[in-house]
């Protein structure tokens, strides 16, 4: 097994600051924006983007948590059913701009499930997608609006994101080859 670091603590911090600026620029401020992190690592990333936005926009945007387990398309195909966690979105998303946040964009199936889940929770004015890493290999017509870093990968490689809030270790993104 080999492991290569592609983003350091500072790289992640800079990427989040840039994404926050792009979110504010694209939406002409953050008045209608709601950040929704996809469990699990999208959640701390959404929190960090909200903190960065508060720094330069002076406004705290609401942050929600989305669990997409019950919307997966592979239940029963890949062994035991994954544990279902709670979804918690602090306000009605109808009419708002929802920015979905996840750590890695790969096949697009997680995002597809997240879009279905959001549709059941309300009717947002628009949905945008922010990811820390886009590693390619899409299986669905889905693209990200805000990307921390594009990383070309082989399909036998794995992207591992470590975030202090979830993993209890230093931040970092790695390419792992089994």
């Amino acid at each position: 097994m080999s492991e290569k670091q592609i983003l350091s603590v500072d790289d992640i911090r800079r990427a989040i600051t840039r994404i926050a600026h792009e979110v504010a620029e694209r939406n002409e401020g953050v008045r209608s924006v709601v950040l929704v992190g996809i469990r699990r690592r999208g959640v701390p990333l959404a929190q960090r983007i909200a903190t960065a936005l508060a720094d330069f926009e002076g406004e705290r945007v609401p942050v929600g948590t989305l669990d997409i387990t019950l919307y997966r398309d592979d239940l029963g195909l890949r062994g035991p059913a994954p544990v279902v966690r709670s979804t918690s979105i602090p306000l009605d998303i109808t009419g708002r701009t929802v920015v979905l946040v996840d750590d890695v964009l790969y096949t697009g199936r997680t995002v597809r499930a997240a879009l279905d889940a959001l549709a059941d929770l309300g009717r947002p004015a628009r949905i945008q997608l922010a990811v820390l890493i886009d590693r390619g290999h899409r299986e669905l017509p889905i693209r990200a609006d805000f990307v921390g870093k594009n990383v070309p990968t082989a399909s036998d490689e794995r992207i591992e994101t470590r975030l202090s809030e979830v993993d209890g270790s230093d931040d970092g993104v790695f390419i792992v080859r089994e």
Partner: protein
């Protein structure tokens, strides 16, 4: 405005890992559930309860799965609860009762199950008057069987919804003093709750007249830490939960009770008895109630009664179990 709240279940090993739970094919009783598996189901139940609080109370998890509700005994809450749970997960649900089916023409249980299998059933939810009937069905069915109550043997979903309700209200199950009172010897609810409550570390007292309890060894041989009592007044002192069981009127006709009035006076849950329990004590009943017999109407509707919450939580618990079974169907 929609507020979706996060309900948390007492800290557990399951919260720390994303790892998948072990596979489970059937839910027949709680005797083969570990503490960890129960905790995982209670956590999933909290997530399912959040789904039920949404404006659109439906998720696609079980799309394409066929659930057959096979009820050979009358039931309102359990049958409707299972049906709503299956629908909230987007499963196809078909209801079958013995009345109006080929069972009336004499088709055997095994042949009925084979027929349902040939028709594409993935999960059979089964209520039957004979203890053990779901076990027989499980041997002849390639999908999953969910026991919705068999004879006087087991009612695992009732026990899990009771555990969920206790944990939700009191924040834990471990160490709680739980009194189960009523017609215990005939009760599948009591038996399944004994497995669940003892696995979770509660202290259980069984309280009933000797004719409705049977020999003490019947219970202590399997659950050595269970306390036996014939005095409700004595055993409710300091209780955290009083679980009342339905008294079937036939018991009196069978000579097991001198009279319903006497039973009610000695073993009925009334306000004075609830007062002797802990101030936060929960009053539970699996339904349907005989108000004025095993429970007084003022207690049933009091602030300490969680009887309606039990019914509401039943849907979420059954969703959690069906989701867990869907992976193998």
């Amino acid at each position: 405005m929609t507020t979706l709240t996060n309900t948390t279940v007492a800290a557990s090993p399951a919260t720390n890992s994303q790892s998948s739970p072990p596979r489970r094919r059937h839910v027949l009783d709680l005797d083969d559930f570990s503490r960890d598996e129960i905790i995982e189901i209670l956590e999933t139940t909290a997530s399912m309860k959040e789904v039920l609080s949404r404006p659109i109370k439906q998720v696609p998890a079980l799309r394409g799965t066929t659930v057959v509700n096979m009820f050979f005994e009358d039931s309102t809450r359990t049958r409707i609860s299972f049906e709503l749970a299956a629908k909230a997960l987007s499963a196809n649900v078909v209801a079958m009762t013995s009345k109006g089916s080929s069972v009336e023409k004499g088709e055997s249980l095994i042949d009925t199950v084979r027929t349902l299998q040939a028709l594409g059933a993935n999960i059979i939810v089964m209520r039957h008057g004979e203890s053990g009937a779901p076990y027989l069905v499980a041997q002849h069915f390639h999908g999953s069987v969910l026991n919705a109550g068999d004879g006087r043997h087991a009612h695992p979903t009732q026990a899990l919804l009771d555990l969920f309700t206790i944990n939700e209200r009191l924040g834990r199950v471990e160490g709680l003093k739980v009194v189960i009172v009523g017609d215990i010897v005939h009760s599948r609810v009591a038996r399944s709750n004994l497995w669940g409550l003892t696995a979770m570390g509660a202290q259980v007292t069984l309280c009933a007249p000797p004719t409705l309890l049977g020999p003490a060894a019947l219970w202590t041989a399997t659950w050595p830490n269970v306390t036996i009592s014939h005095s409700l007044d004595a055993c409710v002192a300091g209780a955290d939960v009083i679980m009342t069981l339905r008294l079937q009127k036939e018991r009196q006709e069978a000579g097991l009770l001198p009279s319903l009035r006497e039973y009610s006076r000695v073993f009925g849950v009334n306000a004075a008895r609830v007062k002797r329990a802990a101030p936060h004590c929960l009053v539970m009943h699996p339904g349907p109630m005989n108000e004025g017999v095993e429970i007084m109407p003022d207690v049933a509707t009091s602030r300490q009664s969680v009887i309606e919450t039990q019914v509401t939580n039943g849907v979420a618990v059954r969703m959690a179990l069906m989701y867990r079974l869907a992976e193998v169907s």
